[in-house]
């Protein structure tokens, strides 16, 4: 809903162009964001306020505490919103800081007009760049003197209605606007969030947007406007993934103690909502649902809701191996939550693409999970919710970049896999050349990718299946081979390890009659930069099957 806004109508002033000359670089903005000094101000005597102000005063030039994932990541927002002139005008008209409007707009909609306005004539969940909803929208529209319809569809009216509403809230909270007052109270009310932690997160997200805006607005050569200290952690420190925020959900139970409870599949979901809505609901006992993790829209934050060792509630389906390349059919009929780790992503099945930053953070998270739990990084073990539950689920949808995603998970874990099929390879790093006489098959399960190729050994064969991998720099690598096993396989399949210079480093024999579907180490060698390769030879005493499935190269 929030990611699918239509383009802003022309005519409203707003400059999405490049930053003005002299504005700080991205690096400079990041530095200021993470090292912003706290303003030395008198403040209301809440404990938190006193403590934080005291801390900031005690060390006026020390950086504020790093804010978890966001601290070393690119800023959330662009320098200029398409709605800046509307924020400024509405702010001046209703005596609300335009940056507050801008920050709320960023958090609510990423400065997009929420789509579907014409479809709803009644009481929608949210409208416009300010995500006004329900009675708040009606009240804001009345206060701003615009129609409800205009407040839904017209950006200027929408922002004015929000400003008028904030103005009213500020008045009801008896804010003295001639002095600095806690607009946070007003913003918290605007958020409509009941949960205290949810309100805090909302405020933190608004702050992140505002802090950035303040830094960006600083003229060249001057100190950035001091950004507020981020609030104390909620950030980081999750038990199984330290970069994530720990937001414990009550919606879990124990995994079975027997083999059905051994976690070995990661399930990828989309929330069909924004991030805050997603985790807020999944920590509410009323939802009767959860996931182990939720990744936000741009990857600047992830939450852990349930310990990995516990059974989160993220998939209804009983396992059916025919939906998963006939992998682990002994688990058929077992409830899938028993042995899976669920990762939700803010967003929608229907969105056209997923931000690269979200994919990257998700990949880093899933690398961590698979490494810690010994889960293979392939398409049987990192799967879609919709794949395992096709009757009523499609998430994460057709635009989840599966091949690139698994490659990123592998890369985060320091490995590259060369499949027998180009479709599953990153052509910059991996390539396979299998003679056309080898037969493609997927009849024996537990292959890597979409299948494998096989051939009968022949004493006179002169070629083999070539798995090539490119190294940018010389260095040691450990190689592992994978096959599908069967009694007709070769017990002495020969893998020749050959450098880019043509030097054969070793010929390693493996017994393919057993051990299918797992990686088997060939050895560790130092390779030169360039395309090195492993050749699975067809030449041997005749009559055995050799299976070319995949090669793994790891640091």
């Amino acid at each position: 809903m929030r990611t699918g806004g239509h383009e802003f109508e022309p005519g409203l002033a707003g400059n999405p162009g490049p930053p003005a000359r002299g504005q700080p670089s991205d690096e400079g903005r990041r530095a200021r964001l993470t090292a912003g000094r706290c303003p030395g101000v008198a403040a209301r005597a809440t404990l938190l306020w006193v403590a934080l102000v005291a801390a900031c005063r005690a060390a006026p030039v020390e950086p504020c505490p790093a804010a978890g994932l966001a601290a070393d990541r690119a800023p959330l927002v662009e320098s200029t919103s398409r709605f800046d002139s509307a924020f400024a005008a509405a702010g001046a008209e209703f005596h609300v800081p335009p940056t507050v409007l801008k920050g709320i707009g960023w958090v609510e909609t990423r400065w997009q007009m929420v789509e579907g306005a014409e479809e709803f004539a009644g009481r929608p969940p949210a409208f416009g760049v300010m995500a006004l909803r329900g009675v708040a929208l009606e009240r804001g529209a009345a206060l701003a003197g615009v129609t409800v319809a205009a407040a839904r569809r017209d950006p200027v009216a929408n922002i004015r209605a929000a400003a008028a509403l904030l103005d009213a809230y500020a008045g009801e909270a008896a804010i003295d606007r001639s002095h600095s007052e806690p607009w946070s109270v007003v913003v918290a009310r605007y958020s409509g969030i009941e949960l205290a932690e949810g309100r805090a997160t909302y405020g933190r997200e608004v702050d992140r947007a505002l802090g950035f805006a303040a830094a960006r607005a600083a003229p060249a050569g001057t100190a950035a406007a001091p950004a507020a200290c981020p609030p104390p952690p909620a950030s980081g420190g999750a038990p199984d993934y330290a970069s994530a925020v720990w937001r414990a959900s009550p919606n879990f139970n124990q995994r079975p103690a027997d083999s059905t409870g051994a976690m070995h599949i990661v399930i990828i979901h989309t929330c069909e909502s924004n991030y805050t809505s997603c985790w807020s609901w999944l920590v509410n006992p009323a939802s009767q649902a959860s996931a182990h993790y939720v990744v936000n829209e741009d990857g600047s934050e992830a939450s852990q809701l349930v310990l990995e060792r516990d059974r989160a509630w993220h998939i209804a389906a009983l396992y059916d191996c025919t939906l998963n390349r006939r992998h682990d059919c002994w688990l058929n009929g077992v409830q899938s939550n028993h042995f899976t780790v669920g990762v939700e992503h803010a967003g929608f099945v229907s969105q056209d693409s997923f931000p690269a930053s979200q994919i990257e953070v998700s990949a880093a998270l899933v690398c961590d999970v698979t490494r810690d739990r010994g889960i293979p990084r392939d398409w049987q073990h990192i799967v879609a919710h919709g794949q395992l539950q096709p009757g009523d689920r499609t998430d994460p949808g057709p635009h989840w970049p599966w091949i690139a995603y698994v490659h990123r998970v592998q890369a985060r874990c320091g490995e590259v896999v060369v499949d027998d099929s180009a479709a599953f390879n990153d052509p910059a790093l991996a390539a396979a050349a299998v003679p056309g006489t080898w037969t493609a098959s997927d009849s024996t399960p537990d292959y890597y990718g979409g299948g494998y190729r096989w051939a009968l050994t022949q004493p006179g064969a002169t070629d083999g299946a070539v798995f090539s991998f490119r190294l940018a720099a010389a260095g040691p690598r450990t190689l592992d081979a994978r096959w599908t096993s069967g009694t007709n396989r070769s017990s002495r399949a020969a893998y020749a390890v050959i450098t880019v210079a043509g030097d054969t480093l070793a010929v390693v024999r493996q017994d393919q009659t057993t051990g299918g579907g797992r990686w088997h180490t060939l050895g560790t060698w130092t390779f030169p930069a360039g395309w090195n390769r492993v050749v699975l030879l067809q030449r041997d005493v005749s009559g055995a099957v050799v299976v070319a499935d995949a090669l793994r190269v790891r640091e």
Binding site: M1, P39, V41, R44, T46, G91, A92, H95, P97, V114, G116, F120, A121, G122, R123, P124, P125, A126, A136, S180, E181, P182, W183, S184, V187, A188, R189, S191, G192, I193, E194, L195, A196, G198, A200, G203, R204, L210, A214, A225, A228, C229, P230, P232, N253, S277, S280, W281, N284, A286, S287, A289, S290, W313, H314, A316, A317, S350, D392, D395
Partner: protein
């Protein structure tokens, strides 16, 4: 010029710090909760006293892809002459897609996968999509999520799914009799009538 930089900086600091304060006023955005429309008479469509409607026992499927999810704010169940009526009321004037079907298999909660039992000889599934029975802030818009109805046909009504844009109910009915599904506007409602007896 009221928005000078120091003022802004101060405002921003207060904005963030104040978000953690405990004494701030709260805005309740819950649209409808306990009682689920109790005591509020619902409009009934013309012909609602049609006690002899034919109906169907087959699946009724009306997909409406897209987003955002429609928010389910109230569910009402009451007996009428000849049938029981379940009314699902949404915010706004548009309905989600729906799929209504008798099922013989076990019904499971979509999160935990736990089986859900209802009374009655048959189970009628009502799936609404895209829909949710909670608001954008993680607050439930319905508090009665497992209800004993005790009506002549409709015995139990349990919410088995409310996540990822999908809301699913299971209705325990006395016998797998004919039903009909109709749509009403102002506000948007989906009406499920289940005939009494055979």
């Amino acid at each position: 010029m009221p928005w000078r930089a120091p003022y802004l900086a101060l405002s921003l600091a207060l904005l963030v710090l104040g978000a953690c304060q405990r004494d701030e006023p709260r805005q309740r955005v819950r649209i409808s909760s306990s009682g689920a429309n109790a005591g509020v008479p619902l409009l009934v469509p013309p012909g609602s006293q049609d006690t002899g409607f034919v109906g169907t026992t087959s699946a009724v499927h009306r997909p409406r892809p897209g987003r955002p999810p429609r928010i389910l704010r109230a569910v009402d169940a009451r007996a009428s002459p000849g049938y029981d009526r379940i009314t699902f009321e949404f915010t706004g004037d548009s309905l989600p897609g729906y799929h209504v079907e008798y099922t013989s298999g076990p019904v499971r909660r979509c999160g935990s996968g736990d089986p859900v039992a209802v009374t009655g000889a048959a189970k009628l599934l009502v799936r609404l999509e895209p829909a949710q029975a909670h608001d954008e802030r993680g607050n439930a818009t319905l508090t009665e999520r497992d209800r004993t109805l005790g009506l002549p046909a409709a015995r139990d009504l349990k919410l088995v799914c409310d996540v990822e844009g999908q809301v699913e109910w299971v209705l325990g009915v006395a016998v797998a009799g004919p039903y009909r599904v109709s749509e009403l506007a102002g506000p948007a409602r989906l009406v499920l009538d289940v005939r009494h007896g055979q």
